[in-house]
Symmetry: C2
Subunit: 399 residues, 2 copies
């Protein structure tokens, strides 16, 4: 298993990611999820791609729209992709907003609201969709909407009274999700709207993660802490989500790359990856475990030892990026471990796309292809990112 990442292997992997993205994942969703009759996308698909629930998740609608516009911007100006992105944008505009400007979480086939939630991730995913679509079309209206949504995400998450907390004032908590999604959303808007003013907020959120979520006694990135980073010695406060923290690590490594390989940011991202790989990598069966307790106590969430598709995808990106930035063979080794485990367990060789929900040992728990949580996002984003990174590594070697 301790193979070197040879030039041949880099070339081979780069071709594999491109192939998997453009000829497996993307066609599965383009063929099965576009609702031509009522607009938007139906992401709740069985193994073969049949729609098994006509409800439409707003997160996935924003994310797929972002992916399509990003492929148009970064890979090839295919009209099919731009058309499908426009189809998503129209549905977001027409059906996914409440009268108060907030977005829904689920709408039904016809676009009637089914569920709205307290927090604002529908908004952040719609913001990156609007920003990428604005770049693809040159239509400034969508740049303006992206910024509005981003500001709304920021305002709600920084104004204590706006989001009714789930817990009382006796258990104040905050999660890694907000600064993490804040960083990556700001990165997307900065890139597609060509506006460096987002960098200040990225700095703030990175500082927040560094100050409040890194726990130097436990060598762990906490998922939930008190308002000022206090350790909460309860189930919620102790529960770690290694795949999520590793995703946060590569958002920071990506920022390091953008800032000419900023050494402080590399150090921070690498530390987060090192800590959470140690906690999350399953030494018995391979793959990244879902949850872990920072003190090694039992976790309360029932699926703690399952292997979901997305933590593996995030770990593939993070380890490859760590290798690119440091040249340390340790990361080439980890990258190949997680790449091999993921590609040998998740892809559905018979009906295409990937399974999402495996037991700890890698056996299939559910052959569902999509739902309100799993859609065309983590897998294609990983494939696109790794294809790009491997191409950069090849290019730097040719120079």
């Amino acid at each position: 298993m301790n193979r070197n990442l040879t030039k041949d292997r880099i070339f081979e992997l780069s071709a594999l990611y491109r192939e998997e993205l453009l000829h497996n994942i993307l066609p599965f969703w383009l063929d099965n999820s576009i609702d031509l009759k009522d607009g938007g996308f139906t992401f709740c698909l069985d193994r073969k791609g049949n729609v098994i629930d006509t409800d439409k998740g707003v997160w996935q609608t924003g994310r797929f729209t972002w992916l399509l516009a990003t492929l148009y911007n970064d890979v090839e100006q295919k009209q099919e992709w731009l058309e499908a992105a426009r189809h998503g944008i129209k549905f977001l505009e027409n059906y996914c907003f409440d009268a108060d400007g907030r977005m829904f979480f689920i709408v039904d086939k016809k676009g009637n609201s089914v569920r709205k939630r307290r927090y604002l991730f529908s908004e952040s995913f719609a913001a990156i969709a609007f920003a990428a679509y604005s770049k693809a079309t040159g239509d400034q209206k969508y740049a303006v909407r992206a910024v509005e949504l981003f500001k709304q995400f920021f305002r709600y998450n920084t104004t204590p009274s706006l989001i009714i907390p789930k817990y009382t004032e006796h258990r104040k908590m905050k999660g890694m999700g907000v600064p993490m999604i804040g960083i990556v959303t700001a990165q997307e808007l900065r890139k597609n709207l060509v506006d460096d003013s987002f960098t200040k907020l990225i700095d703030q959120w990175i500082d927040e993660i560094k100050q409040d979520f890194l726990h130097h006694e436990y060598n762990a990135v906490m998922e939930t802490v008190g308002p000022n980073g206090e350790f909460l010695d309860h189930f919620d406060g102790r529960t770690l989500n290694p795949g999520h923290a590793i995703e946060g690590a590569w958002f920071i490594l990506q920022e390091a790359k953008i800032r000419n390989n900023d050494p402080e940011l590399i150090k921070l991202g690498i530390k987060m990856l090192d800590w959470m790989w140690e906690i999350g990598w399953d030494k018995k069966f391979g793959g990244i475990l879902y949850f872990s307790d920072v003190k090694g106590l039992p976790v309360q969430e029932y699926w703690h030892d399952m292997k979901f598709w997305w933590p593996q995808n995030e770990a593939i990106i993070a380890t490859l990026m760590a290798y690119q930035l440091t040249g340390d063979e340790k990361y080439a080794h980890w990258y190949q471990l997680i790449h091999d485990w993921t590609f040998s367990h998740f892809p559905d060789k018979e009906f295409g796309e990937w399974f999402g929900y495996l037991h700890r040992d890698g056996s299939i728990s559910s052959d569902l292809k999509g739902n309100i949580w799993k859609g065309p996002f983590h897998i294609p984003r990983m494939l696109l990112n790794c294809w790009k990174i491997l191409t950069e590594i090849q290019t730097s070697e040719i120079k």
Copy 2:
């Protein structure tokens, strides 16, 4: 495996349940969960009984208090049990009520509210605790409080505007939980307060289950339906919870027993058990599966194929009660299947009490002994009920 339920076996099982209840389950909680310093109970325990989260679940507080008072009423007038029940009652009274009369869901070690939920199951469990304690002590004050809480449970669940729904008006839903908990709560209050006026409500709730939750095309007890029993062809509407429906089945069989073996109620309870055993019993590994899709499609909940402690306990009661009421050997067989599977997988031979969370194949997923969901309730209620039923069967044979 097709053993007959012989007289010897009945005697042996009856002794086993009594022993397990009084010398394993009960001491585990009495020894480890009573908080003498700050009141109430700490149910979040690791395998050895160490407190790993000091938060106090209000559901379990009501349930344990109910159990202790019930053991005092029905098994033996032990002062230790009455004292522990009083300890629970005091904590419920002093710390578990909000200013609006609603109850909390979680309070911290000192009794500060941590979480309050929209629905009213804290109230139903406190109601049965107050009722059993009123009977144990003869203190009418607690009978009055039990009735008040029951009325609150009823009022909130029958007045549409009082509970803010999770979903919008485009996806109106109702769950089996309300009529089921309604029936068993009313049965408890009727028994302990000696008040037959509860019977009318029990009839209404049984009718609601019969009319709205039984699906004769799928031969299934639905968990979630539209306001008038409409089938909702979405993940939520299709998801069955066999252990929960089987629990509902024995609440109805219990009502049949109380009504001199009412044949219509026996027929209804048996049908629910027959249908849901067929769906829930895992033919491959044994035990009752957590969730199933009524159309055989993939389930969205991640722990769908796990084996939790409580569905097994409910199925043991239901199958034994079905055997008692019908004399049909099929139920003696099912009862022994589920008894054997449960007793060979869940009890912790080393540190006492039972594991709660197993994988599908019966291996341990988490060795947690208690949390806000798992406490001294389903297991001791099963042991007490089955001990009673087996004694009734023995007695009827002696006559």
